[in-house]
Symmetry: C2
C-alpha cells in the first residue's frame, strides 16, 4: 500500500472531493487490514483549484492529491486532463467513482414546511430541477460558490431557508438532512483520481491512461494508433480527441485501456506507438475502482 501522510484535494471542506478522499482512504486501509484510526493521522489539505492540487504534488507539498476527472452529466473535467497532460509529471495511481447524491439540508427537522429559499451551487440546483419544481415551485433559488458554502450560509439564515448539499457538509455544520437523494438522475456519478509521483503496482485488474500527441492532423492517423491496440487485443475503455496546444501538433488523443503498463502487450503497444506519433505520455496505471 501507498504511504499517505499529506493528501491535498479540491476544496472547500464538505464537498464531493472530500467525500471521495474519505471513501478511498477507508477502502485502502481495509484492503491493507489496517486500523481505521490511521486515517485520522493523515493531513488533508484543501486547495481552491485543481491546478494547485496538482502542483502541490509536483512540488512535494503533498504526497498525493485528489481531484475530479469526469462527471456523467457535466462531462470530462478538461482542466484536470490538460494540467496532467501539459504541465505536470504527476501520475494517476487510483480512481474513485462516487454517486452524486444531493440532500435537502435545514436548520431543524421542522423547517421543511416553511422553506421559501433554497441555496446551492448552480450545478446542484440544476441537477435537482424536477424535485424542486414539484415540491418548491415558488422558492427563490439562491446561488453559492460550492455546495459546502451553501450549507455553511444556512447557519446565518432563519428557518425559511434550506440548502442542497452533501451528507458530510450537514455533519460538519451540525445541520439536519430534511430529504435525502433529491437528485433527478439517480445514475449521476463523478469519477475522481488520486495522483502521486510514482506508478502504482500491478494488481491484475488495472487500467492505463495515456495521451498521444500527433504531428499532423492527417486522415487515418487515429486509425494507425488504434491498430496497435486492436492487433494486440487490448480493450479501450475511453477515447477522446482534444485540441493540442501549439507546437506540439494539432491534436492529442486521451486513451484509457484495460491492463497495466507492466503488462507485456501494453508495454509493446506503447513502444510501437512511439515510432508513429510525436509523443506518448503515460498518465498512469491504476486499479479499476470496484465500488
Amino acid at each position: 500500500m501507498e504511504q499517505y501522510r499529506k493528501i491535498s484535494y479540491l476544496g472547500p471542506e464538505g464537498t464531493f472531493t472530500e467525500e471521495a478522499l474519505i471513501k478511498y482512504l477507508s477502502k485502502a486501509v481495509t484492503l491493507k487490514g489496517g486500523n481505521h484510526n490511521q486515517i485520522a493521522e493523515i493531513t488533508k489539505i484543501a486547495y481552491p483549484t485543481i491546478t494547485e492540487v496538482i502542483r502541490s504534488v509536483d512540488r512535494g507539498e503533498a504526497d498525493h492529491g485528489v481531484i475530479p476527472i469526469e462527471n456523467s452529466i457535466e462531462g470530462s473535467v478538461n482542466l484536470t486532463q490538460d494540467v496532467l497532460t501539459f504541465e505536470s509529471e504527476a501520475k494517476i495511481i487510483a480512481e474513485i467513482a462516487i454517486p452524486i447524491k444531493h440532500h435537502l439540508i435545514g436548520l431543524t427537522k421542522s423547517s421543511l414546511k416553511n422553506i421559501k429559499k433554497i441555496i446551492s451551487h448552480p450545478h446542484a440546483t440544476a441537477q435537482c430541477r424536477i424535485y424542486l419544481s414539484q415540491h418548491f415551485p415558488d422558492a427563490e433559488i439562491i446561488a453559492a460558490n460550492s455546495t459546502a458554502e451553501a450549507v455553511k450560509k444556512l447557519k446565518d439564515t432563519s428557518g425559511d431557508s434550506a440548502a442542497i448539499g452533501t451528507k458530510i457538509a450537514a455533519q460538519i455544520y451540525g445541520l439536519e438532512i430534511l430529504v435525502s437523494d433529491i437528485e433527478d438522475n439517480k445514475e449521476n456519478k463523478t469519477r475522481f483520481i488520486v495522483i502521486g509521483s510514482h506508478i502504482a503496482k500491478r494488481t491484475g485488474t488495472d487500467k492505463t491512461s495515456i495521451v498521444c500527441f500527433l504531428k499532423k492532423d492527417k486522415p487515418g492517423s487515429l486509425f494507425n494508433i488504434l491498430k496497435e491496440f486492436a492487433e494486440r487485443e487490448i480493450n479501450l475503455t475511453r477515447l477522446e480527441s482534444r485540441p493540442a496546444k501549439k507546437d506540439l501538433g494539432d491534436y492529442v488523443f486521451m486513451i484509457d485501456m484495460e491492463g497495466h503498463v507492466h503488462d507485456r502487450e501494453i508495454y509493446e503497444a506503447l513502444e510501437s506507438l512511439r515510432n508513429k506519433v510525436y509523443l506518448v505520455k503515460l498518465l498512469g496505471s491504476y486499479p479499476v475502482w470496484a465500488g
Copy 2:
C-alpha cells in the same frame, strides 16, 4: 438561407448563448445580403434548460434553437450530446464559436476603487482567478446562478460591488464596463450549435456529426469503424467515446468529420458502417464556423 421566425435558446437573457445567437443571425443576414432590421422581427425565446430548448424544436414551438455543446475549459456539454443522441430528432444545422470574454461591470465608472464584493457565476469567477487575486485579493466573492443574474443583482447594491458578466448584460441593465477582458485564459471559447428539423444545405466547407452505437465493447470495434473513414480519406475532427444507455449497447462514439452527408464518400462510409454497428445516427451536416 433558413427561415427564422422563432428561435429558442438557453436563457436567461444576457448570457453567452444569447450573444452567440445574435452573432449567428447577424452573419446569416449579412451572407444573404439582407437588412439587419430583419433580426428584430425574429422572436427569441429563452428556456431555462438545454433539454427544454431541444424539446421546443421537436414540438415545433420554435423553428430553431441555440445551445452550447463544448467549452475549451469546461469540456463537452454531455447533456446536449445525450439529449440529441437519445431523445430527439432535431438536427444540427450550424455551429457558432465565440470567445468567452469576461468583463468587470459596475454601477458607475467611478466605482472601481471602492469594490469590496464581486458577484458572478462560479465558473466565471474561477475563470478570472488570476485577475481577481492580483487586483481584488480581499474582495468577497458572491455566487449567482448565471452571469446575467450577477449583473442584474448589481442594481440592488450600493457602490461597493461589481459583477463579472457579458457586454450584452451590461447593455441590457444600463451598467458600465469597468475593466474589459479580465479572463485568465484568452483562448477560452465556447462552441454553440443551432438545431432545426432538417438537414442544412451543402456549402462546400461543411462538417458532419454522427453517433455510432456499438453492439458490444469488443477489442478493435472502434478500429473497424475508423477503417471506413481512413480508407476513404475522410478527415475526423473530433472523436469521443461515451457510455451508452442500457439496451443500446455498451458504448457510443460521437464522431465529427470534414464534409457533408451528401458528399459521396461520406454517404458511402455511413452506409458501410451501418452493416458493422448497431445503429448510426446522423446528428447533422453544417457549415464550418469561420469567425
